[in-house]
């Protein structure tokens, strides 16, 4: 298979981009999603409403549109990411990577928020009452009692959200990031006779990443079930 003998470096490099997109936007989505859910279930009415609207609007916008907004509309408003200049060997993290991370994070955080909210709703009301009864404030009640349990209950839906994120990183392929699917397109164009093996090889790359994430999720779930 010529595409592998000539292109294994390109293959690995492209999956490195995919992986970095996943890791960076994954972590940021978890953080932003947690903040969003705190707004949505919190005692401040304005934040509750704002959080609700944000989730509704962003969640119902196609990801490719979110990308396009940041890639094409944002520069007109002076929102640019030219300051992002990180170079590791031949791998570059520039404005294209930054836009991809922003789009993926804003989009995925809404799903994280809803996954967590389902987790929070599954925590019995009595847990919050008991927490308040020992004198914990709203913040303490959330951070010590509700969120830890909500995270546990949210592991399966959160795993689904993160697995969807892994595959959603591929939207970046038409927005200037040389991630796996972009590399796959180059290869299918250059090695027309090896199209099917190329598809399978790239699918395998995704399967490996998804497998690792699922493994961790299952592990966490089991660990917490006994706890």
């Amino acid at each position: 298979m010529d595409f592998l003998t000539n292109g294994h470096n390109a293959y690995l490099e492209s999956f490195f981009y995919t992986l970095m997109l996943f890791l960076v936007s994954g972590v940021l989505s978890l953080v932003l999603g947690t903040i969003l859910v705190a707004c949505r279930v919190g005692p401040v009415a304005v934040l509750r409403v704002a959080g609700g609207w944000y989730v509704t609007i962003v969640r119902s916008t196609p990801l490719v549109v979110v990308f396009a907004l940041f890639q094409f509309a944002a520069p007109m408003l002076g929102i640019r990411f030219g300051w992002v200049q990180i170079h590791i060997g031949t791998v570059d993290f520039t404005s294209f990577f930054a836009v991809a991370v922003v789009a993926l994070t804003l989009y995925t955080s809404t799903f994280v928020c809803e996954a967590l909210r389902s987790g929070i709703n599954s925590v019995p009301l009595g847990q919050a009452e008991a927490a308040r009864a020992i004198g914990l404030t709203f913040g303490g009640t959330m951070s010590q009692v509700i969120l830890p349990q909500a995270f546990r209950a949210s592991v399966p839906p959160l795993a689904s959200v993160l697995i969807a994120l892994i595959k959603n990183t591929s939207v970046a392929y038409i927005f200037g990031v040389g991630e796996a699917v972009a590399q796959m397109r180059i290869m299918t164009n250059n090695y027309a006779s090896e199209r099917v093996p190329i598809f399978l090889t790239f699918a395998a790359g995704y399967i490996v990443i998804v497998f690792v994430v699922s493994f961790f999720a299952n592990h966490l779930e089991k660990h917490w079930r006994t706890a």
């Binding site: 009452e129 008991a130 308040r132 020992i134 004198g135 404030t137 010590q144 349990q149 706890a227």
Partner: protein, 258 residues
């Protein structure tokens, strides 16, 4: 003993600790608390009984402001209950609460359940909190279950942990809302024993319960509620043998049959 009147406390029975004055509460059209006047003295044990839906739980929960009230005042140790935020959280730390359904923190061990309040609210050191928690668990007979999780304990054991958790805050008063009614009969005693002990040591307690045995052994006063009102109150002896009101006699007739 003579009837303890909330209007005329004597020095021997201590000064008032919790005072409810003309408290009213509505749930929509439902008048759940109607002109409640109740004064609980330091060290006093008050048992609240009454038919289902009479407002006992609501009364209990207003005392640590898990429920807000429509009008009237509630004071704890001379201070009005704060409205919101940190001050309210501070007040709740002074009032221990034990729920019918235990409500132990499911993701924390027994020891951690008891330590959480002291560490996060009282800002005790971990070491001090652990020492104290271990003592309390020992007192309710559960020291060896410290590393377990709530789901690994029986209902009676969980309720005793819940009592230890409330005590860890060194509250001025303890509220119990039907602490034994979710328990199998053989577990009720172990919980009541802990509560009787607590009463003997002078803890101020408000207990919603239908356990007549507990009321007779430990209570200084029984308050009978019906339809959101305090219908009658008196010593357990007086109340159980010569209830004054028709409603109370009716109610007693019902529960004593079982």
């Amino acid at each position: 003993m003579t009837a303890i009147s909330s209007q005329a406390p004597t020095a021997a029975q201590g000064e008032p600790l919790v005072v409810l004055d003309h408290v009213e509460k509505w749930y929509g059209d439902l008048h759940v608390l109607q002109d409640i006047n109740l004064s609980i003295k330091r060290g006093e044990v008050v048992v609240v009984i009454g038919p289902s839906g009479s407002g006992k739980s609501t009364l209990c929960r207003t005392i640590n402001r898990l429920e807000t009230i429509g009008s009237g005042t509630i004071t704890l140790d001379g201070q009005a209950l704060p409205q919101e935020g940190k001050a309210l959280a501070g007040l709740r730390a002074e009032v221990g609460m034990v729920f019918q359904s235990f409500n132990l923190f499911a993701h924390k061990t027994i020891l951690e359940n008891v330590m959480l309040g002291p560490v996060k609210v009282r800002k005790s050191s971990k070491a001090d909190a652990e020492k104290r928690a271990t003592e309390l668990l020992d007192r309710v007979g559960l020291a060896k279950h410290a590393p377990k999780y709530p789901s690994q304990l029986s209902g009676g054991q969980q309720q005793r942990v819940a009592i230890a958790r409330a005590l860890a805050m060194e509250p001025k008063v303890m509220l119990f809302d039907e602490p034994t009614s979710a328990l199998d009969p053989e577990m009720i005693k172990e919980v009541l024993d802990v509560m009787v002990d607590l009463a003997k040591q002078g803890m101020t307690m408000v207990v919603v319960t239908h356990e007549m045995g507990f009321a007779r052994t430990a209570a200084d006063r029984v308050v009978f509620m019906a339809d959101g009102q305090i219908v009658e109150e008196g010593t357990p002896e007086e109340f159980f043998t010569h209830a004054k009101s028709e409603r109370a006699r009716d109610f007693l007739g019902h529960i004593l049959k079982h």
